[in-house]
Subunit: 447 residues, 2 copies
């Protein structure tokens, strides 16, 4: 509610202020807030947008969701579009271009200044999920024999964006990265000090083709705000900033969570019904096939079920417990892979731990369910059958929860993808097989 | 592999360098890398640690996992411990104190300088999951009528940590937040300019008791590097930095993923078997109870199953498809709640969308399974029963996937917690009830 009245106040302010007054006050308002106000405003958005300086519009477009970016830009006449585009940084332009149709992309590219166009075209060559795909080419480069005083003068001329200004990269003549110096180091040093005296030499950089999620892990590990990106020849070609990385990590997390539940990426809670059906139905059909495999397993034992129909009543317990046990292990393993916590060194140890955990939990649950089965049916052998089936099923479930994601990872398939479907298929099929198979073998003691 | 040889080189360097030489080179090595080297080194860790300057050790302890922090500190003699503790910032000290036993916490508190001790004691009063619990009290404060030149002198005297130096907060005499100025604004401005001429006045701050996840969303939304924290009277009392926020978001994401799978928070992939069993078994027992409820539902229809035993074979399809459909919706809703995308305004629209999606998917899957059922059993009514049950079950599954997390949220329970257990119970019980109930009603056409 507080946030809503804040947005309403801002809409009011944007509408009533003169163009001149607005340019004065706009600097203190975050572009995300202006975007929220524009999105909420139900009248003609041009009324607000046309008053804003191009630089602010560029920032607003950068904050906008993928689909909105072009819509916002298209509200402006051609001349203004050119000015707005010239204010956008290279990574923002790439983001914009990657979300529009090829026709629109060509149209936008034509409106760019020649230098920007070439830079952006180069960036578009990198995979969108790599360091190259999210980097910006605007960064501050200095030479190691410049003094602090010279550097300060250079900064005053360049007047860099706030988000990229906190680290200056020290390059040699061939653009190799020699070191890094923070703005804070510059500020607290004497004017005559040379850059190489205060620079840090061991700079951790990322190769241009590194997967963006891996880059994200480096930011998390080291707590960096900016990381330099280098090409195959180790020349520095760009920077990745932490605000972009937060978005990357957020999207990767959503993707993992969705995939574990069998939802295709890109589904949004406010999306269309058609979009939801299209993204979920394929997995349900795959699941239907695996469920039919489980059904076929059961149908092999129809003769046994006919004679001991209570077996059918216990089937949900077998399937449910196996599925849940498998999903627990699966989730631990998928998350550990995503966070880079599962390595060659500890994978065996983790496997043994999971199997031991499965056996202990299988015993713990098996004994309880054996007693329940005995009391329910009145025959000790029924307790033995359901208890033993549960122990076997849960041990296998942890094994499947471990092996399925590891195997997918080895096959270079995202482990989160469809893992749950495979694991529950294994636990359903084997669970029913253990339970109904044991019952068939011991049938004479059950009837 | 590359990373491993890097660590081995670093161990070598740490071991062979003289104390003096080490102090020179250590500045360029990230404390996280030194920590990795210490953890990997199999000899006496004191051999390395005792050579390092206290400031570096403080940084290493800050990077360490919760359990390791105290272990590292305890390797030093008492006098060194005091020096190390004096180098740690307030939020790092709080992190350390929150992870040790009360005895050890008292012991650490006694070793702090009086001023630090009071500050830390105050910070410990805030909930560990709030802005207050993760903030640091060290920040740069300036007055609005200071000049840029005076500010630069102040910075040279203070020589602040790199991570907190990028924003200076403008406070009045009563410590109310008047504005913020970035280090970049300082650097590119003339020495005689007054701070109030270049400061941004509309500062977005967080209240000290705001939940850390909500603070995280603000960082994501605005792309901030630092946010000021204010108390109930709006006085500025600390800062939260983006590196801490990344850790918060990472942990909250893991927690959500784990809870959806029925795993208690705190499980680690490399943890002990006992820890894993303790964190997973409670959920399996809860799931056992809900599975028994599903079994009781089936047992109501044992007479029907005895006459049409193929019904038992189709039970895994009913349960599996309902559970998966419910989990899909559940996941979308839980994630939307976690990301703050589900609001009062769109909740009705989302509900209608989910129901419509469930009905469309129910029809799509229902028709296929009806045909399969008809072909399998050879009776059209069997196809009707399984198809209709599937439609009803999937429509109810999306409804349950929506209502269960929304209800938990209203009850102020984390929606991710146990949602899956409740949803699959609903889909199992109702799915079997629809399927076997319909079969019982139409039994004369099935035998």
């Amino acid at each position: 509610m507080d946030n809503e009245s804040k947005i309403n106040d801002l809409i009011e302010l944007l509408l009533v202020s003169s163009r001149e007054r607005l340019h004065e006050i706009i600097e203190d308002i975050h572009p995300q807030d202006i975007l929220d106000a524009i999105n909420k405003f139900e009248g003609d958005k041009k009324l607000i947008l046309s008053k804003l300086p191009e630089e602010v519009v560029a920032n607003i477009i950068d904050e906008a969701d993928d689909e909105e970016k072009y819509e916002l830009l298209a509200l402006f006449p051609e001349a203004s579009q050119k000015l707005i585009l010239s204010e956008m940084s290279s990574d923002e332009l790439v983001d914009l271009l990657e979300t529009v149709t090829p026709d629109r992309a060509t149209n936008i590219l034509e409106k760019l200044q020649k230098e920007d166009m070439e830079e952006v075209k180069e960036l578009l060559n990198y995979g969108p999920d790599t360091a190259g795909g999210i980097m910006a080419t605007e960064f501050l480069a200095v030479k190691e024999n410049m003094t602090v005083g010279e550097t300060l003068k250079y900064l005053q001329v360049e007047s860099p964006d706030a988000e990229t200004a906190y680290y200056l990269f020290v390059l040699d003549e061939d653009e190799y990265l020699k070191g890094v110096v923070s703005l804070r180091d510059i500020v607290i040093s004497n004017f005559n000090i040379k850059i190489h005296e205060i620079m840090h030499e061991k700079v951790i950089s990322v190769p241009v083709n590194m997967d963006q999620e891996e880059v994200g892990h480096l930011f998390e590990k080291y707590g960096f705000l900016i990381m330099p990106v280098v090409d195959e020849m180790d020349k520095m070609i760009g920077i990745v900033t932490v605000d972009d990385i937060m978005e990357v990590l957020r999207n990767e997390n959503t993707e993992d969570i969705y995939r574990l539940a069998g939802i295709q990426e890109g589904e949004r809670v406010e999306g269309s019904i058609g979009g939801s059906v299209r993204r979920r139905l394929p997995w349900l059909y795959i699941n239907l096939i695996t469920a039919i495999v489980a059904s076929l397993t059961v149908s092999m034992f129809e003769g046994t079920i006919q004679r001991v129909v209570t077996l059918a009543s216990f089937m949900p317990i077998v399937a449910g417990m196996g599925g849940n046990t498998g999903t627990q292990t699966l989730t631990i393993i998928v998350r550990a892979i995503a966070l880079g916590e599962l390595t060659f060194e500890n994978v065996k140890k983790v496997l043994l731990k999971e199997i031991a955990t499965g056996i202990i939990m299988g015993f713990s649950v098996g004994i309880v369910i054996a007693i329940i089965g005995f009391l329910w049916v009145g025959k000790p052998v029924f307790g033995l059958v359901i208890g033993l089936a549960m122990l076997l099923n849960m041990a296998v479930a942890t094994l499947a929860g471990f092996l399925v994601p590891i195997t997918l990872k080895k096959l270079k398939i995202d482990p989160a993808l469809a893992s749950a479907v495979f694991v529950t298929t294994v636990t359903d099929v084997l669970g029913f097989f253990f339970f109904l198979g044991l019952a068939t073998v011991l049938l004479e003691y059950l009837v």
